[in-house]
């Protein structure tokens, strides 16, 4: 992999730091008028998700990380692994629970999602920002209660539990923002 100097650090650049693949979030140039220049760099450790702030002397460099974001189709899970497929090549990848993390709550078969590969194996999985999922379990709907506020928990087909308005009932399909886990509305009928 190529090396990158502090002046090439941009948000999104993937580099190796202390043996860990990281994504650069922010790079601040700090320099007293007379004196040493530094770069104060914010990075996300792609293995652990932890955000680091590390200071470098300007001009130092880091090795690039063999990390790629790919759009893949989610196929299924066997309970231990989650399987994804590259739509163009039909190449399949298996991701473990650590790589999938909380994304498993939003993975729907045949849905496209972003899989980050590190040395050609899945490092993390990001679901689409919005998914449409069926309610499999919730208290009976209260007909006619569309105007009022108030909410109740509903379990979705993936196992995710979200707060939904009182009038919704089992079997209905709803749209959820996966970044916040918030109910957005009934899915558009297709």
């Amino acid at each position: 992999m190529a090396n990158y100097s502090t002046n090439e650090f941009r948000s999104g650049l993937k580099v190796m730091l202390d043996g860990e693949p990281c994504s650069i979030l922010d790079n601040e140039f700090v320099k007293p008028g007379k004196g040493q220049a530094f770069n104060r760099v914010k990075l996300r450790n792609l293995n652990t998700g932890r955000v680091w702030e590390r200071t470098f002397k300007s001009g130092e460099s880091l090795e690039g990380a063999d990390v790629m974001d790919r759009t893949m189709e989610y196929l299924y899970t066997d309970g231990e692994f989650w399987y994804f497929m590259e739509p163009d090549t039909f190449e399949q990848y298996q991701a473990d629970a650590k790589a999938v993390g909380d994304a498993h709550l939003w993975l729907k078969e045949q849905e496209r999602c972003e899989v980050t590969l590190y040395n050609d194996s899945p490092l993390s999985v990001a679901p689409p920002n919005f998914v449409e999922l069926e309610i499999t379990e919730t208290d009976p709907g209260l007909k006619g209660d569309t105007a009022q506020g108030g909410s109740k928990p509903a379990t979705l087909s993936t196992g995710a539990v979200v707060k939904v308005p009182l009038f919704l009932s089992e079997g209905e399909v709803i749209r959820v923002d996966t970044r916040t886990g918030e109910y957005q509305g009934r899915a558009s009928k297709s």
């Binding site: 140039f29 008028g33 007379k34 530094f38 590390r54």
Partner: protein, 317 residues
């Protein structure tokens, strides 16, 4: 391709207003406005500053440097008997880009024969309040500020103590360097942010190793530089000296700079013999200061990124 300016037209108007205020300030005090060349055959020796170089053109016998500040030329004017002078100049520094840096920037530099650096600090405060309106003003020695903010004495602490203090608050990995590097790190990462909620804050009596072109004196058994920096709301905007006038001491510092440059694998800089000759012929005792005009404009307009006050930032020109 985005052809539009990086600053809003409103900020360009504010810039014009600021420049007019600065000129009015100096006109009322009989300080002469001067212009000196941007493209010079002698570059700065300071290891922390890298000039941009122009190396092609029929007029060039040898490569020339875009000035990193007009200091050397203005000192030659002082030695020639100019009296008090100021300049609004473009300066260039290679590799400096960020939210507070642009490789090309505007610098206000002025020199006051007969004033020491304390008197010049007073005038700097007057200029800044003339431009920004009334502000609180504080004065701290470098030593007292470090003691208050970090609980250590920057003049007597060992390199290991400085490093330990930095590592206590910051992740610096395998960073290594000399005493001044650790002092710069502590100053820029821990002390500066602590000044963010203050108005004008002058810091003076820098460690002698950071004197640059300032005189050095002995105070309380320690050598300190007659140098100051001004921070406004935590942003460094000016750097001033009680100027070195001794030609042989100036030559020693140039040579020492070049030695440090070669230790770090940086190119040597030919010495500015014009400046050295001017000092030999006699430059009046004076103080001088350089102030970042773009940063002053950021403060005046409440902008947090230098690109928001430049017509076209580095990426757009």
């Amino acid at each position: 391709m985005n052809w539009r300016p990086s600053a809003a037209i409103e900020e360009l108007r504010a810039r014009a207003g600021l420049l007019a205020r600065i000129r009015a300030f100096f006109a009322s005090r009989d300080v002469l406005e001067v212009e000196t060349p941007l493209l010079c055959s002698r570059g700065v020796t300071d290891p922390a500053i890298e000039p941009l170089c122009v190396d092609r053109g029929n007029s060039l016998g040898a490569p020339r440097f875009l000035q990193t500040s007009p200091e050397y030329a203005m000192k030659r004017l002082l030695a020639a008997g100019s009296g008090p002078i100021y300049q609004l100049a473009r300066a260039f520094r290679d590799g400096e880009a960020g939210s507070r840096h642009n490789p090309e920037f505007s610098l206000l530099e002025w020199y006051r024969p007969g004033l020491d650096h304390h008197q010049l600090m007073t005038e700097v405060a007057e200029l800044v309040t003339h431009c920004l309106g009334p502000q609180s003003v504080e004065y701290h020695t470098y030593r007292d500020l470090f003691r208050a903010e970090l609980g250590l004495d920057p003049l007597t602490a060992t390199v290991n103590q400085l490093q330990d203090r930095a590592r206590e608050s910051l992740d610096v990995g395998s960073l290594s360097g000399d005493r001044d590097m650790w002092l710069d790190l502590l100053m820029s990462h821990l002390v500066e942010p602590a000044l963010a909620d203050r108005g004008l804050c002058f810091v003076y009596d820098y460690p002698a190793s950071q004197a640059a072109l300032a005189r050095v004196e002995e105070k309380e058994g320690q050598f300190v530089a007659q140098r100051f920096e001004l921070y406004v709301r935590g942003m460094e905007i000016a750097n001033g000296y009680c100027e070195l006038t001794d030609a042989s001491e100036q030559r020693r510092r140039f040579v020492a700079d070049n030695r440090r440059r070669s230790d770090c694998g940086q190119a040597q800089r030919p010495l500015d013999e014009w400046l050295l000759s001017a000092l030999e012929s006699g430059m009046p005792a004076c103080s001088g200061v350089a102030l970042g005009v773009d940063r002053l404009l950021m403060l005046a307009t409440g902008k947090t990124d230098i690109r928001q006050v430049l017509a076209f930032d580095w990426a757009r020109c």
